[in-house]
Point group: D2
């Protein structure tokens, strides 16, 4: 996987990190759309939301503003372009999408406006690839049209998510129905009043081999037996109305047809979705790092203490330099991982993906932390976005596999070169989580 | 300051870090009182607060429970013992108080119950030492009785607090009144409905030399012209009802007699209060570190992934070891700084104080962060105290002088040994902040 | 300089990090030559040197073996290809040369065999660009033919090399001769008995503006008044017979014609040489990092303690993962800096060059240190190359501008974006060192 | 072990880190002797050694100078005072010895002059406690008289020393003789021409339980079958004439009576020696850290770049501050570990010992490294002691158990509190190494 072991030709291909000519018009179009449509709408959206009393709903006018922007995006053809190599999408390369994701990351409503926001993107991709015609008609179509939103229920409070074989929520077939019982948490997006469908990871086959025990089942929302217990806070923030919800399932009955792909194929499905999602997260993290560095230098050049601007005091110039170096290094690594997915496929590129997932959020946390320090007490307050940005990036070090698991993937891959042995199957399953 | 430059006798005295025999009965009494009185009361207090709708007030019954515990503390003689070397206090050594503070730090209501909570402690100490008989009668007496609470207004939003000469809020004498105009923020405790007096740092003498421009004036609360703009959040948390408030002063008029000690003596007063306060903070930080390590190991021994308890995976045992080593090293340093204050006095001990202030919160943040990582996503949520603990410790790296200023104090002290020169007066002022 | 401020087109060009098709045949040829000619010769060379008594000379047969390999390289046309865009060289792009340098770095004699070794490369480049026809005939020709070797004397023991304006060695014109007096140290290669010419940085114009006081003068070796005081050791190693020599100049007289380019143009000349040299160093550092990681994993998979291979103990797998991630990130950054030199020119690319110079040796030191730790006591001994590799990389953090200076270049560049001001001229001179 | 779990009385006792009144006269005497006798002798000793051609012998006059100082020490009663609680020693507490060791560490010949140098100290302690009268007469007596020197052979090149059960060198009883075969390395002091006895760890009982397989046998030097293969270099330095030797044992026959304590009791003996030795190492490391900080500040205040002294550039003041803070924290921890040995005994104090062994050399390496950086290229050369100091401290991170093993001891101790289980016996053996 590392350069050292691949031929110079393979290296060369992976080292061409340019955006393709084909993607350029879309890239420019997206930038223009964000500038001309999304940004004015965002201002209005947030203004409308200011007096809101119920944080779990939208204020009058908010959804209308959002829908108008979505209509305009559809009209302009900026819709669902996230879908790679698909009839319904633009067939974008991961590398090209990485450049575009960096732009989407600059405005928190941009992705949704063009129907490219998580977790809908991963859910649509899964439905598009493994859904039955009926499932597609019922769930994929309204998702592709931006009429509903969705969630993905995987993590459980009682089990370490670092090991993806750890699923305890059960689904048992009774007649024509699956009966689900268990508990999930950190279900992002399940707080949104428009959320209508949830792909749910369950254990259907406890006696099968470890990687064949899991299945993914479609659970419509709201649904009898599904209780939203409340939001998980992130450093005190409930992130309403999107929300990262804690949900109980008590004898939840769904039709047999809601199974995705087939019993025991839950892991297989997971493999489809996680690589690109991690790359997109990392691209957005880079956007956060750039923002933090911008705020850090801006503050440091405009505030003085002891008669000198803060940037000239102590080690601050070096801190800024190290942040810039880290950001550029991370950028190249993320682009290279995206390219590896394009050239090698998600499975072969998995070590590259783990490298950036282990590298990026940890270092971005550090850059944001240094920006906080440059702001003094204001840095932890609501007067800058830094504390919230920190909370988000800190959480990313735990989501989609904690840092430790990704280091395990990378380290074991390196070790395996010397052992000449087979890939550790338990590890593979981890990654597939 | 460092051992190397002092005689072996002086070293020896500083290295006796035992609690004194005189303080032992008080120490044992405090521990018993927390266990027998404070803890049951705390449970009730929090239960009563659960349904509260206005976060800025107390729920019915809460204050009554608190007052009952305070009465009991008074009755048992556990009252105001924080005051060092004073008629009104126990005359506790800083070293002895450090041991007791570590116990107080284990329950968030313990300090208040025994009338030993910040910022009242510092305010009472200042009033006790420099207050006029009238000021003492009017403000110190009810504070010593626990009838009112107080605040200390120093930091301003428009100026870096790292340089204590940076005060812009003005006070001008008009007739028999001082007229105050300006803005302060992070005024801890000013959100409490019982807060009645605020010691306010102002600039009275802009043409004096830099360290003689500031004064401290007593401002009763509520007061015409004093507007509480709102709370400063800390990682999203308003810390109600205590609060870290943002306050505007517009033509606030107070009698001439509300000046403390005299015009231009604001810095001088600050010197009295900051050393012990920083030591107390650091003792409480150690308590937080112990708590985080406890949660980390508890989680790591009870959760498994890949068939092994988390503590046995990857570098987790080493992380635990490094946390234990850091905690023990920090403990000895905090005790030594307290001892240095007892032996050398606050001024001579200032480098020891800066050493622990620069050392402790930064490392405690790291230990809490590692405890979060061991908990997975639960670690950042409201299901553990870790995220809130992190926010508190992270803020401490900015409060009472950011880390950088304390490293400057320590570093310059070391450098000055070689320069043979005088102490940098601007630095002295920083420390005195 | 950072991606964020350049157009997407400029970014795109910088992100194409592939080796060019034109350079491929040379790259393959160099690899084959090292494998077929250099490696067998190296073994003989080192065998011949084993019994040597005078470490500052070559053993009988050593130079003959080296010359034979050089003749073969010439015959095969693998000679002097380092010269960029020159009649005498291959006109290689910096990016292409970076790939080739990585191969050259794998055998310590490879560069010399193809007449591409430092400091001759920089000296030849300087002579080729600014030398007079007479200077070229006298010094460039035998250098290009590999008949003599050369040195570059810049650093002085009495002055911090971080500030390139710091030159104290004087040259005064007396009649038709320059008279040089002063002291230089760390003159790499001046210990080699074949070293015949030394480009020497001197101060000729103490009253000119800071950047115009320096000149570069050619001093033939040996020469009256030039005394080699001895070698500077690097972690105890004299690096004989190459050597990093300490040299005194006492009334050294050279003809007026030995001035390069003109009086006061010493800095201007330095600018030509340092960018590519730093990139080549960093490429070789990457080779060292790969070697260290290889030794680390090899040891860790073949040694056991407590019944498990070392790689599975404690945090070792994560250490290996972090090393791999760092190496890949550094590789991309070095390639990008080389590309920036090709696209933007040495001057515009200087921030990229400083980024990699500040990033690479520091991290490579850490990776080697971790490899040492994995080897136990053997790691610091002569039984592995690790201790020597560490010493080399540690020295690189001080040579060609210490880390701090390069962070200053990067940090100030970032800050300057916000200040809208001119480039700090003192900084520019630093970089040019 | 940590404060949290011990009673306040036990804490209090451990926190009295003063030198005892009884030890004060000896402490002052040692300081005076070093100043008045050892330092002048050292200068002459090193001057005499300058022209030496055989690095493995002493120059004429060197040993005579040393012996004269030893005679003077004996006459003054400064002899063998290292022996704790023994008839032959001063019965010094470990805490008191720690203060004295810090003084001994300031001159490289001081320990030997007073017959307190490693590895003789440990060897004498072992002989004093477990030797037979005959062994004492033959080996302990001349050691106590300073007539011969000794070595301790434990580490083997083919086995990781982190696991003390890893001994492969065999000893087989044939008639009245033990026959030893195997290989040892890093045998410190075995290069000294005066070295006459070597305590050798061997495997005598391969079928016993893991901790009972080892024995320690006395091997006189020189001896048939014992071949010194050469010195192990440490970062290129052979450390002659002391030396860290690589030794082969081929059919080495010694009398049955040379067994120490008894077959299978090798581990038991090791336990006696390692605690104090580690503390002494750490005290000397602190001396090295003070020296490095001194050189760092001295250089930084006397060199300028860009018109300011180096200490005022970039983060240098903070680097100095952090070094001072680390040094003071380490000092308190080393004293506390020494006190723990006095109060709790070596076995109970082992976690404290592992804490300081894991903490000190790693951080001292970092401080020395920063001092090197402040010196520029001079820092890695022979013109300062820094490179050699770095090599020594770096080696300490591997000797007497690598950092990782000590973190394992500390971490597992912490974890065990929660598991309620027995102590891991394999771990105990590690520590005893």
């Amino acid at each position: 996987m590392a350069d050292t072991e691949t031929s110079i030709d393979a290296q060369n291909e992976l080292n061409d990190l340019r955006m393709s000519d084909e993607a350029r018009p879309l890239y420019e179009h997206v930038k223009a759309f964000i500038r001309d449509v999304v940004e004015p709408m965002s201002e209005e959206f947030h203004r409308l939301g200011e007096g809101k009393t119920d944080i779990w709903s939208y204020a009058p006018g908010q959804l209308e503003a959002l829908e108008a922007a979505k209509d305009e995006a559809k009209k302009q053809g900026l819709w669902n372009f996230f879908l790679p190599d698909a009839d319904t999408g633009e067939g974008l390369k991961n590398l090209d999408y990485a450049y575009i994701a960096a732009e989407l990351g600059k405005n928190s409503l941009a992705s949704e406006t063009m129907n490219c926001s998580a977790p809908d993107t991963g859910n649509m991709e899964v439905l598009e690839r493994v859904g039955t015609p009926e499932q597609k008609e019922k769930w994929l179509k309204p998702l592709l049209n931006g009429e509903i939103r969705s969630a993905f229920a995987m993590t459980e409070p009682g089990l370490p998510s670092s090991d993806a074989k750890n699923v305890s929520m059960s689904a048992v077939l009774e007649g024509d129905e699956w009966v689900l019982n268990g508990e999930k948490y950190y279900i992002s997006g399940a707080g949104d009043p428009r959320c209508r469908i949830m792909i749910t990871m369950v254990k259907t086959s406890p006696d099968a081999e470890p990687n064949k025990q899991q299945s993914q089942i479609l659970v419509p929302l709201p649904h009898p037996g599904v209780t939203i217990m409340g939001p998980m806070h992130v450093f005190g923030d409930p992130d309403a109305p999107h929300g990262h919800m804690h949900i109980k399932f008590e004898n939840v009955r769904v039709p047999k047809e809601n199974m995705l792909l087939g019993e025991g194929r839950g892991f297989e499905i997971s493999q489809l979705r996680l690589g690109p999602g991690r790359i997109h997260h990392c691209m957005r993290s880079l956007g956060a790092a750039e923002k933090a560095l911008d705020l850090m230098v801006r503050r440091g050049t405009t505030r003085s203490a002891f008669g000198r601007p803060l940037v000239k005091l102590g080690g601050n110039t070096e801190i800024i330099s190290r942040a810039r170096i880290e950001i550029e290094a991370m950028r190249m690594m993320v682009l290279k991982a995206a390219k590896a997915m394009d050239v090698l496929g998600n499975k072969e590129a998995r070590v590259w993906i783990s490298m950036v997932k282990a590298m990026v959020p940890e270092r971005v946390c550090q850059i944001i932390d240094q920006a906080i320090q440059m702001h003094g007490a204001t840095g932890v307050s609501q007067w800058t976005p830094l504390a919230r940005m920190y909370a988000n990036q800190r959480t990313l070090r735990l989501a989609d596999g904690p840092d430790e698991v990704h280091h395990m993937v990378v380290g074991r891959h390196e070790i395996r070169k010397y052992e000449g042995g087979e890939e550790d199957p338990s590890l593979a399953s981890v990654w597939r989580k």
